[in-house]
């Protein structure tokens, strides 16, 4: 029997397996940031240990940083201390830090791939659930807690139980106005926010093979939003072309050797998954969420489900609570709902391709006067590219605000928060209660749909203005 992509990488990284227990899994790359690492550093120090393999750790400051005036000291004292502590810890433990002001700084899941650090066949972890993003390169990448960050610091290993495997086969032609964010929002709306729990996911099929790396990253990024530990896509020419020539990509003979290895990384024809789900691309429309978990999504021109149509009592109660929080009603359309904020950013949709999509829609247009639009590029390199390509002029003419790199209003840890009661059409990944600020109401969409709302000031089917 053949093996899956996941199993090929997993088997190569098992140091030892405890009988009827977890395996010791070797970790190739460990990304860290300021929010989930301080307690892990103090943990190993309390044990009298140093970071075991500092060269395999890369750090950046992203969650907590301001997105304006990054050259000035951070105003919020607690944020400043956290960012400073990351700097001190990295110095003490000899870890490479791309901190504020560094040309490589940015959201950890944007910079890893764009610097060529993320490569096929690797095991990659970070104290952040969206680490699944890196799976787009054919790596096993998943989010961990701070105790696990401490384990990787101490031993470059984790104790892991092999997950079950789920494959989505996505075939057919994508409809007009449908991009990768719509694919993943559609999948999550079908299998629910818990439907992937216990599984590691592979995304396959012709639709996936035809996507760019940026688009694949958006899909793998949101694997966690269906509860899956991670998502992955077999590497191919698109992957290799993306990596080639990047700062930390293998060079010369090493490149040739690696390329040979990477080409073997695919699921065998006769490999068996615990579960497989076929998706017809024709069924996918531009998507939007209406509730308070990413599974509560619909096609943008569909009606919100009527609460009385939900048979399961727990689910119905959840939906009632979600709609009450969102100020929406079962059975209504979202089209035409006024929005106060548009947020374009986050590790899901802040790469150059996402911003190009937005620019295409809004070029020569102005934003609606009642909407505040914030564009937060994922990294300093993306910022530089926005200016190099002249996208900045399009955004500024439209009345959008271009910020510096960081996680920003995706999770509202810095000052970029959405006020209570306001609607925010957002390209980020979570619409939980209070996620973007206490009382904020988040509607998750693709960059195209976000751009459309920015122009019209209401929730809009982007196909009408394309």
């Amino acid at each position: 029997m053949g093996t899956t992509l996941f199993e090929k990488i997993w088997d190569k990284h098992v140091v030892k397996t405890i009988p009827q227990g977890p395996s010791i899994l070797y970790i190739d790359k460990h990304f860290i940031h300021e929010v989930t690492s301080p307690q892990a550093f103090s943990g190993i120090e309390k044990r009298g240990l140093k970071v075991y393999r500092p060269k395999q750790v890369v750090a950046t400051a992203d969650h907590n940083v301001p997105t304006i005036n990054q050259h000035l000291p951070i105003k919020d004292a607690l944020s400043r201390i956290q960012v400073q502590q990351l700097k001190d810890n990295c110095e003490k433990h000899d870890i490479e830090l791309y901190g504020l002001g560094h040309p490589y700084q940015g959201i950890v899941h944007v910079i890893g791939p764009e610097l060529g650090i993320t490569q096929p066949g690797m095991t990659i972890v970070c104290g952040d659930s969206h680490t699944s993003t890196h799976g787009a390169f054919g790596s096993i990448a998943f989010g961990i807690g701070t105790s696990e960050v401490e384990m990787v610091f101490a031993t470059q290993c984790l104790l892991q139980t092999k997950p079950k495997l789920l494959r989505f086969n996505i075939e057919g032609e994508l409809n007009k106005g449908v991009v990768s964010k719509d694919i993943i929002l559609y999948i999550i709306s079908k299998i629910t926010a818990a439907g992937g729990t216990g599984y590691f996911v592979e995304f396959a099929g012709s639709v996936i093979r035809n996507l760019s790396m940026e688009a694949r990253m958006t899909i793998c990024n949101m694997s966690i939003e269906m509860g899956a530990r991670g998502g992955m896509i077999a590497p191919d020419e698109t992957t290799f072309n993306y990596i080639k020539g990047r700062q930390f990509a293998p060079q010369g003979e090493e490149w040739e050797r690696k390329l040979g290895e990477w080409k073997e990384l695919k699921t065998d024809e006769d490999a068996v998954f615990d579960k497989e789900i076929d998706i017809d691309a024709a069924d996918i429309q531009p998507m939007i969420t209406y509730g308070t978990n990413p599974g509560l999504g619909i096609a943008i021109n569909a009606l919100i489900p009527a609460t009385e149509s939900i048979a399961d009592e727990g689910e119905r109660k959840n939906l009632v609570q979600a709609l009450e929080y969102m100020g929406l009603h079962g059975g209504q359309t979202l089209l035409g709902t006024p929005v106060q904020h548009v947020f374009i950013g986050s590790c899901t949709n802040s790469r150059i391709e996402d911003l190009r999509l937005v620019a295409e829609v809004i070029k020569g247009k102005k934003k609606n006067a009642n909407v505040q639009v914030m564009i937060v590029p994922g990294s300093q390199q993306v910022v530089a590219q926005v200016y190099a390509e002249g996208l900045d002029k399009i955004f500024i003419e439209a009345g959008f605000e271009i910020r510096q790199a960081g996680c920003s209003a995706c999770l509202g840890m810095n000052e970029d928060k959405i006020p209570a009661g306001d609607y925010c059409v957002s390209t980020s990944n979570r619409n939980f209660e209070g996620r973007q600020g206490a009382g904020a109401r988040t509607l998750l969409v693709s960059p195209l749909t976000a751009a459309a709302a920015a122009i019209t000031g209401v929730i809009t089917d982007v196909r009408e203005i394309l």
Binding site: V35, T36, G127, I144, C157, A194, E315, N318
Partner: protein
Amino acid sequence: MEKLTIIKSTFYPLPIENVDTDQIIPARFLKATTRDGFGKNLFRDWRYINNDETQPKPDFVLNQPQYHGQILIAGKNFGCGSSREHAAWSLLDFGFKVIVSSFFADIFKNNALNNGVVPVMVTDAFLEKIFQLGCEDTLTVNIEDQTIIIDITGEEETFEISNYKKTCLINGYDDIDYLLSNKEYIEAFETAS
């Protein structure tokens, strides 16, 4: 970690599904650099009106004086979302040793176990029975036997936990101790690959 064998306690019922870690501990409270003191912000936005500690929401379970104990009972898919271990720290700091639900998110489950908070997964039917109990009724969770018992009726279910994790909880070991004891295997693996 504290050794855990048997926890017998009353409980707090939270019959809400998909409780995400942003609700357990909102992001704005993640700026601390130690593991302590998160309990006061547990379920912060469900617990207080306008984020004001002097205005507890009277209908939220943590604010209802009849409820107390070391066990939290929650609807399915507890702990979904962000990987923040601060969620487990805040539950532990508040005084919870056991969380009972019919389904747990993966990362939360690991984070809880790594902090000596036991995620006990029961069937939907058993969960419903617990929600029907009174505030003075107790549950007994036995780690060794992997059982949870409704003391007043004697009804019982078994729950899953790996032998490895069970040994860790009963003896107060953590994964780092175990990994460090395998350093020679790890070095050999690095040399070979």
